[in-house]
Symmetry: C2
Subunit: 230 residues, 2 copies
């Protein structure tokens, strides 16, 4: 039948593309930006380090699939993820045409415990971004794009709230900005700018961060708005 023949032709032309999600999960640890990598147990790219991800199920949203993969491969739950890009080169995967929808996540390393082995991975590690070697697939490209996305995200206060859920000191926030954006800020102007957003309040408490003198502890106001820091 003509219709059936067309269907088959269409199937060959159109419907043989796999979709997976890849998430770059970042943390900032004492002024160093690190990304969470997992070591693959299976082919392809067996024994290589890779970003966290995997195929999307037919009946789940992309974001759901990304979160499920994160949980399966690292044990992390409740990571806040943001869309980063799409990778669609024809030869990305040696197995079949795969399109990657990529995400960026950021977590507080102190609040989080990563599984070192799962059904698909035999190790997991927080790697400083300037120490990342050759990764599986095109994950090095994905990571570069993710870093760009992270730079854009960090200037919106929304992601800051996720990074410092329990309060923060201003020098601590400044170090995070400097690490991610790769440039330094004047201490006085940074403080002024952050306070001028009127999104954070002094808790009255103090905490030791890096210096000898304790720093003031701030927290986000309840009412949430999404202002741009720079």
């Amino acid at each position: 039948m003509q219709g059936e023949k067309n269907m088959r032709k269409n199937f060959e032309l159109y419907k043989n593309i796999g979709v997976h999600t890849i998430t770059s999960i970042f943390t900032v640890d004492k002024g160093v930006v690190k990304v969470l990598l997992v070591k693959r147990k299976n082919e392809p790219f067996k024994d290589m380090w890779a970003l966290v991800g995997g195929a999307v199920y037919n009946n789940e949203l992309l974001r759901e699939g990304a979160l499920r993969e994160i949980k399966e491969k690292t044990g992390l739950e409740g990571v806040k993820i943001y869309e980063s890009g799409i990778f669609d080169k024809l030869d990305r995967s040696p197995i079949m045409r795969m399109i990657a929808v990529t995400y960026v996540g950021i977590v507080d390393i102190n609040k989080v415990n990563v599984l070192s082995e799962t059904i698909n991975t035999e190790d997991a590690s927080w790697v400083p971004i300037d120490k990342v070697k050759r990764l599986a697939y095109d994950h090095n490209d994905i990571l570069l794009k993710a870093l760009d996305t992270l730079k854009e995200l960090i200037v919106s206060t929304d992601i800051l709230k996720g990074l410092f859920p329990n309060g923060f000191t201003i020098p601590e926030v400044q170090k995070t900005y400097e690490a991610i954006l790769g440039k330094e800020f004047d201490r006085r102007n940074f403080r002024k700018k952050l306070l001028s957003l009127r999104l954070i309040t002094d808790t009255g408490k103090e905490i030791l961060f890096e210096g000898k003198r304790p720093a003031k502890l701030y927290k986000f106001d309840k009412r949430k708005e999404n202002k741009s820091v720079f």
Copy 2:
């Protein structure tokens, strides 16, 4: 065989997602932002208006697929397109799970000739964005997102060059900005800002745009940079 069974299971779980591209092609015509819609000839959504798009071939990049669909359904070639988003709701298409990768394009309406009928479409029309009715699929949502993307894009001079390849007057550019961003600018300040970018030069020519007094015709300098207008 266990392997084969797993493959089949995986196929059912994973590999039954279609990928298509949807492009919102905009123009600005005398201060009115319009989007190019086509009328569908076939099911699903037969006889409804829709954005331009269709399934991606297995062996082409997403961007290539988007440009091919644009050509097939409107006759337009060489449209400059920019990534806008991803739409992945499970019930987007009544036929099968489809993921849409969406693009934004912008063209000079005077330089362009749109086919009114093609193999898949029976009509095409530039519709002012506030006159757009119910579209096929989730194209209304895609269009809203595309307008957001357009607002972000318009402040980079890159897209400006595409819109005014053959020179422009400053009031004309200002009208375009006002139409897309939905707000007005002071005439003197707008001119000052645009000139301060040092990307455009006075051609010495004049042209009638809207006013009674002829406006100066400007063009982009050869050396191209990508500066932000606001």
